[in-house]
Every structure is written in C-alpha cells, then in structure tokens.
Amino acid sequence: MSDLSGPAPVLALGGAAFDGYVRVAEEPLRAMFTLRGDLSAKALKNAATGLAAVDMPGQGQVALNGEHCIAWMSPDELLVMTPWDEHAKALGQLDATLTDPALNYTDVSQARALFSLSGPDGLVREVAAKLAPVDLSPAAFPAGSFRRSRIGQVSAAIWMPAPGRIEVVCFRSVADYVFTLLRDAARPGSEVGLFG
C-alpha cells in the first residue's frame, strides 16, 4: 500500500481554523514516519537525515528545515516529517535505506491530525499551557523544543518550529476534541499574560 494514488486524502476536520487571540488551524497533510531502532545506527541516522536534510535532534528536540523535520520521540524512536508531496519518494528512500530488519519504519501520516497555533509568541505559549502539562516558558521551551505530552485527556506531541508558532500532533480520531480544546483556550477574553 505504498502507492497512494486515488482520491486525495481528506483531513479529519477539512482544514478547520479559528481566529482567537491566537490562530488555531488544522494543517494540511504532512508525511510522517515513525522510525524505530538504535538511534546511533548509521542506517537509521542516514534514513532520517536523508529524508529531512537536517541533523539528528537531541533529546526533547526537533531538528527543523521548513516542513522537513526529525523529532526525538524516545531513546529508540524518531518521528520524521516531510511535505506531503514527497510522501511516495520518502517511502522509496526508507525502503532502500532501512534494509536491516532490526531498524523499522512505519507510515503514520494519516493516523494523525496536525494543528498549529500562531500569533504573538507569549500568547501562543500560554494557549498551549492551558492544555498541556509542559513548561512552555521561552527559557524552558525555546524554538526547536519537542515534547510528547497530552492535550486535555489525550496523547499529543507539541513542538515549536519558530517563535510565535506551536505545532500539535494528535491521533486523527480525536482531532475534533483537540481542536475544540485549542479553540476554547484561544477565545478572546481568556488571555493570561503568563509569558509577558
């Protein structure tokens, strides 16, 4: 099933967006691959860096280059993303690089919903801080930070590609729940001013 022809995949919420005191938006599909194995294995590193064209991230970090990125998920797991139009090419590359069966990749592009929070940096941080038990201060969570955490009651990963922008990925089935939480957290009148 590596061939993704047929009708264009639809997003869980059809690209929902809300303009609150920060903007909450469902992002277009992005190719996402879970890589499992020894993170120091050359083939695994080559597979990840070959797709994303960035260096390997440290613990709790994401290495970014536009929509390309490698995120550190656990001592034996990476999440690699590329733009959706590189999906097929990426699958081919991964098949070619990860020939060792002890190294493993899984296409999870459509298992997920992807959201962005964008606006003034401090406000974007505080909207996320209403829902995720993460220290989102600029010092503790600078651009390039990545956390596997939760949004409300469900698993989510959040990261900061750049100041003023946080991206959130959750499972597709709970996209509506997560969007509703983010939307309510961003409603004008609920500003906190926690981060300046």
Binding site: P9, P101, A102, A111, R112, A129, K130, V174, T180
Partner: protein, 1004 residues
Amino acid sequence: MSSRLAQGGRLIDRGAMREFTFNGKRLKGYEGDTLASALLANDQVMMGRSFKYHRPRGVVASGSEEPNALMGIGTGGRFEPNQRATMQELFDGLQAESQNHWPSLEFDVGAINAKMSRFFPAGFYYKTFLWPRSFWEKVYEPIVRQAAGLGKAPKDKDADSYEHLYAFADVLVVGGGVAGLTAALEAGRAGARVLLLEQTAHWGGRAPVDGGKIAGEEAETHVANLVAELEAMPNVTLRLRCMGAGVYDHGYVLGYERLTDHLSDKSGPRHRLWRIRASQIVVAGGAIERPLSFAGNDVPGVMLASAVRDYAVNYGVAPGDRVVVVTNNDDAYRTALAMKAEGLEVPVILDARAAGGGALAEQARAAGIRVEAGKAVAKVLGAKRVTGVEVCAQNGSGSTIETVACDVVAMSGGWSPIVHLWSHCGGKLIWDETHAMFRPDPDKAPTGADGKGFVLCAGSSNGALLLSEVIVDAGRAGLAAAEAAGFEAPVAQSWQVDEVSEIPLAAVWLMPAGASYDKRAKTWLDYQNDVKVSDIQLAAQEGYESVEHAKRYTTLGMATDQGKLSNINGLAILSASLGEAIPQVGTTTFRPPYTPVSMGALAGQGRGETFQPLRRTPIHDWHESHGVQWEPVGHWRRPFCFPKAGESTHDAVNREVLTVREKVGLLDASTLGKLIVKGPDAGKFLDLLYTNMMSNLKPGRCRYGLMCNENGFLIDDGVVARIDENTFLCHTTTGGADTIHAHMEEWLQTEWWDLQVHVANVTEQYGQIAVVGPMARQLLEVLGTPNISKEELPFMAWADRVVGGIPCRIYRISFSGELSYEISVPAGQARALWEALYEAGHGFGVAPYGTEALHILRAEKGFIMIGDETDGTVIPQDLNLDWAISKKKDDFIGKRGQQRQHLALNPDRWKLVGLEVADGAVLEDGAYILDAGDNDKGQRNMQGRITSTYYSPTLKKGIAMALLKGGLSRAGETVEVTRLGTTPVAAKVVEPVFYDKDGEKQNV
C-alpha cells in the same frame, strides 16, 4: 448603627457608585467595596442565620476566614451559594441573598431552635434519632435536613466557562502581603523564576492598616515600591485574586484565580485553576486573629478587632458608633486608636491581662481612652444587634461589675499563623507558649523526593507577628527558597523598620476564666456549625479524648470555613477539659483547599463538548448523515444500527442481519486495533504472546489467534496477518488496541528486551471496511477490483488490490460466516472508498450494518466475543478453543497458568454451550442456569450463566451462548434458566454453532 464614614477608605473609589441588591433590596456602595463593607455601610449588620439554631449572625471578619456572612450570589445559571461577603467584591448589578432563614432574615421561624438549644447538645442527633431505626430515613433525616443546612444548591446548569493553566516556577510565593512581597523580591533578585499569588484584589496584606514604617516610608508606599520593583523583573509573575489552594507532593500546587466574580461583565472564563509545579514554595499567608470565648460572642456587632479597623481604614466604614475593645494582647489597641482617630467612641478597652498592655496601651490612655486591666466581657447584651456588654473580672465566675452600652465589640484572642499550606503535605507544627500559637516546625518541613523540605513559611505564617520580624523572616525565606531551588543567594536586604513595641499576650481560652454553664452554653467556638464551649466540654466528658473524634462528634471546624476561627480555641477548651497541655492534644488535619473552590474550576475544560474525548472513525460523519443510532464503545462511537424512517431498532437490526446473509452489507471496522510487529524476532515474539503458533504463518496468509495473561485467562483475540518475513499485522479488539499495544511494549521492555522487535500502533492510519455477504465479490468486481476469486484470494489470505481506484489491502477474513473482504485503506481515503462501495452496491441491495447485527451474525456462528464470553476468569479451554492452543510450543504467556489443577483437571468448569428454548423465545442476557439445592447461605445453587443471547432473524428464533458446568458433555440435556420477576424457563443444551456448522459459506 454601622455607616459610611465621611472620609477615608484606602480601597474604595467614592467617585464610582455601585448598585447592588441584598434580599431584593436595592443598595449602593462604591467601587472597591466588598459586599460585606457595602452592607455595613448600609447599616446591614445582620447578614445571615446560623446553621443549627438559626441565630442572627453578623460579619465577624474581613477576609477569607469569615464564617458568618455567607451569601447566595447571582441568579439562574450564575447562582452560587455559601459565598463569603468579605471576599466578594462589589460590582454593579450584584445580587446577593442571605441564607438559612425562613420566611425572612429579620423574622425566622427556625430561631425556635435556639430556645431549645438546651435540648440540642453535641451528639444530639446520634443520641436521639437512633431509635426506632426505621424512622431515620423517612422521618428524622428529612426534617433535620429541612431545618439545617446553609446555602441552596444551584438548580440551573452553570452558565460560565472555566479553564486550567499549567505553570512552573522555581519559587512560588503564596500570599502578597509585605512578607510575600519581600520573599518574592529576594528570590527574584537571586535570579529564580518567581510566581507570586495573592487571593485578594490588593497587595500589601495587613501592613497598610496596622501601620509601621519601612525604610522611612509608610507601609502602603513601601508596598507600592516593592510591587513596582517586582513588576519590572522579567523573571517574576504576580497574580492578584489568585489563591494558593493546596500544596501536594512533588511541589504541585493548585492556584484558584477568580477572573469575573468581581465584574458585571461575565464574559470569558470565570475561574482559572493554576496547576503549578514549583521547586520551592514560600507560604506567606499571614495570620488569623482568634475570637475570644465569652457569652454572646456571636451577636451581630461582635467582630474581630482587626476586622473592625479594616472596615474603617480600607473601606471608610464604621461598623458602629460605640466600640468596646476586649483583648488579651497589645495589637487590639490599634483598633481602639483607629476608631478614636475616626471620631468614634471607644467607651472602654477591656484587657484580660492582669497587668494590662504595653506601649500601645499607653498610647490609648494618652488618647483619652479608658483602659481596664484584668477585666473581661461577662456577657454581650442584645439579640439581633449588640446593645452593650456586661463587664466582669477575668478571674472569677463573671459577676457583673458594670454595664457598658456599645454597638460593636472588637475582640482579639491573639493570632494564629496560617499554617494550612505548610501542613497540607505533611509539615509539622510546634506550640509557641509565648504567643499561644502553633507555628511551623522548621525542622519538620514537608519533604520532596530528595528528602529535603520544599515548603518554607515566611512572616506571620511562620509565627513572626511584629513588622520588623516579618520583614527579616520573609527576606530569609525568599533567599533560602531561591538557594534550595539552585540559585546563588546574595545577602538579604536589610530594612529600617519603625514600629511600636508590644508585650506578650496572656492565653485566654475562656472569658471569664470561671464562666458558669449558662455562660458557656452561650459562648460560641464555631459560628458556622453552631458549636459552643459547652459542646466541646460535653464531648470530652463523654470520652471523646482525641481531637479528631471530638471534632466529628461536635462538628467543630467541619463547616465550609474548616474552622479557621474555631479550631485553636476549640482544642484549647478540649485540652483544658482533659487536663492536658495543648500540644499534647494537637490539631486536626489541615486539608486542601484552603477555602472552597468551585467545582467548575476543578473540572476546567472537562465539561460540555470536551467532557471527554470522543473518537471518530474516518467514516463517522457519513454515519451521522445516514440516520445512525450510535453505541459508545470505549471513547469511540460505533454505529449500533441504521434505522430507516419509521423503522424500529429491532427491525433495523434484523434487516441488517438478513442483508448480510442474503445480499451484502458494509461494516465500519476502523476501530479494530492494528498493531504492526516488526523485526527479526517478530515470529518468536508472537509465539510467546499468542496461545497458538504464529511463526510458521506464511506471508500473505492470516490466522486467528488468542492472547492470554499470565494466569492463563483470555484477554484478547484477533486475526494476525503475516506481511513479510519480518513483519506481522496483529488485529486486536476495539478495546484492546491500546492495552495490547501496552502489553506488548511492557514484555519487550521489561522481560524480552533482547528480542529485536518493534511494535507500532497503526490503528488510526487506516480505515477498515468489511464488505460482507454472498454478493461481496460481485460488489468489489463492479468497482473493478481484480484477482479476488477464491483461487486468487482464498479465505484467510490477504492481498494488495486497487478498489475503485484506491489502493487497498484486502483481508479475506470473516466474523459473520459469510464471504467477507475486510478492506484496509488509508484513513484519508476511507470515506471515499465507503461511498464508492455504497453507491456500487445499490444494485445489490447493499446496506450498512452496525455492531448489533455484527454480534448476532457472530453468535449465529458461535464465534466468541471478548467481554461477552470472557470476563477475565475464562480460559480458552472453557470456550472449546483447545484447537487454538499450541502443544508444540515450549512456552507462551498463560501456558503455565492454564496447567494449574483447578483449571486443567477440573471437570466442573463452566464451559461454552449453546442454548435453545422450545418455543424459540429469547433468553435474558446475564441470566443464570439453576442447579439443584441451596448453598450454605440459603441461596439457590447455580451451574452456569448466559453470555450472549439474541433473536436470530436468520433462524427466526432465539439463540444463546452460555457457560455451563460440564459444557458440551451435557448436550441434549434440559436446564432451567432464570428470568427476572418470573419463573425459570427450560432450555436445551446444544452446540453453540447455530448456522452453517461446516463453514462453507465463508469459504467460497
């Protein structure tokens, strides 16, 4: 009368008039007033009726410790009972009503209880209503509940929204008085990230009222300077109207921020719950003044001395015209001086100390105030309002020396440090004899994971009562906290403090010391729960020696104020009654929250639409627009059935079953768990997890497998497909997706870490659509699906195919016994595939079907369902699944469990059978199969139970599966099955496969 003074009031804006109502009466106050100060300004001293005796009660305090002035605030969806008028800021349109009175606050029928108070002593309910026992629920309890109780429960759904916020700090400071500000400043200067919370709307706490100069400035100016410096520090966050509610393990603290309670405009969240992780916590909550225990100390107009001057200085309100001060310490003299300065009369200061007071007493005398040492209040005169006091000697039984007319009694029994937050997580207290108070024991702080303390107290919370001591102590605490949080601490700034010195108080727990029973029975300890000195003494006399028992017997400290004013006074009375020292009796446990917090704040975003996550399949919206009847399955919603217009649920289910048996049906099976198990040792791993052999499965083939726990009991089942040499796809039950994933990860991470295997949960990557029924193949062929004949894609095989232009993976597996293709498709294309199948199937009479049809179809085939035929105590052998248990494998999880004698060698295990009733009736779900005789408890013996029971539209009769002692060895027998409310019914034991026993229909 109480009234607004002509001038003054540092917190009010006399240019901003605010209108509000109290019990429907329109009143006026000012911006900056609290509801309590505005009511006093309108001569409304009586603010409620007491809980038990319905006695008239007025405001006693000026802060969050207030026990009496509880109000119902707001209306409809914004009504909330038991709100303290002292903490409620005034706003235009505020609607308040007093509580616990009928028909009115001024005239209350329930006040008859007070006349009967002799007959309502401690433990009255326990003693009186024990007999006859049956009377409690029907007679006594409804009457007691009608007569007692404080606020009314809201009737409407809460109209407001609430939210949580996660915050982190190196040093969290709770309390924004001079102590908290000083501690925050030192911690902030040391570089720590500081969060400072203050529950009121103002910084500075008591200092601006109590006076003293810091660095040559008035306290108010100094506070403003401190705040300005803190606000300029980027590493410091300050929050007003945010209470530190509770301290929990690992530096977790709840902050309770009230955002709109003080505003007319209620838009936006009402409360915000701060969920804080702090490395170090500084508690700078101040201290609470204690009432004195004299007869009639609950009459409206008897107030804490500090509160009396707070109302004058902060709000420009005089609680009365003639103020008698009664005290055991110097501090209360400040009230007399403040009243005098406002031009009010202070006829006398009664100082219970035989030697009288210190420098402040001199100032009072100099101001022309009469000061009487060694004197006490014998009795307060007045009912709904203080009219005077009878004066007596403190030492003695209370013979009246003289009567003094007054309308306010300002009392002070000393101060108790606010040690609640110190104690929440295990901080211990020591008794300070000099000041007659419990204060934190610095050697026994609450400890964190490293065994070191993570809470410090600062200022009055730490027992420092003089301004100079407060400031030194707070600076020390702020620096110590920063240092403990890993910052290098400089030397604390020292401040020049000018203050009036004070001499020690004398502990006075009863006034006069030898008060008679009549007096003690009119001397209140706990205003909110109506507990008197005589009640505690009675409890002690009856053997309630532990403070925890005495508390529960008398209800002392159990009201919404949690005994902030009453606990220390109560335990002093208890210890005196027991003849023990106060520290030997000890305190009751301080538990969070510090004051009540709203349920809404605790729930936060977890209500309404986001009460809990609802999981939707990629085809969810289609179901919704096609008349689906939902069934909750975990957090998922799955279609139960799709009734057509006018069709009953039962008819819809039957139609769906027959459509599958005769034509073709579509099932959204997306919720099934899909776990990819990959690696060189994947086969070996699965052989250990499943009871049957998986490693010899050929790529391209599927096999049904069972999974057990270590005890041998079934936990999950599903079809495993081998994708390639190193890769398997394991289907789990809907509920098992996450738990089986976790089960696999646990074994891989803790026991079999040497296996080279990785597991990925791809449940949500794919939609899965089952195309089921004799016409399933034709339907797929209409959509141009190639190579799906029996030969090219046989039963229990899988293949990648393009269906309707969409690349899919098709599994030839069947849970219905019919020809079946389960099509896996990337989630984003699942809806398109579903619609294509639905449209192409029109000519075949296709219909979507739901979980109930699915269940009936599988029950007709005798297929088990995890959770129906299993309940955590069922082994595969009980379900006749011996064929799925490998005898070749050395081991698998559950193997040894199943070999235990009571499982392996027990002929009486309840095992799977089918049941049929002669007239085709449907047995009741969960019914028992009766056995002969009774057990030793006189209950009828059972020999089995119904696990699944349905009406089979295919067979046109009821069918059931059951677990029966002896199982199929009893085929042909007739057994008795229970029915609710009627006689049992006879059922015949049969094979549990009711339809297509040879499995020919699925294998075509």
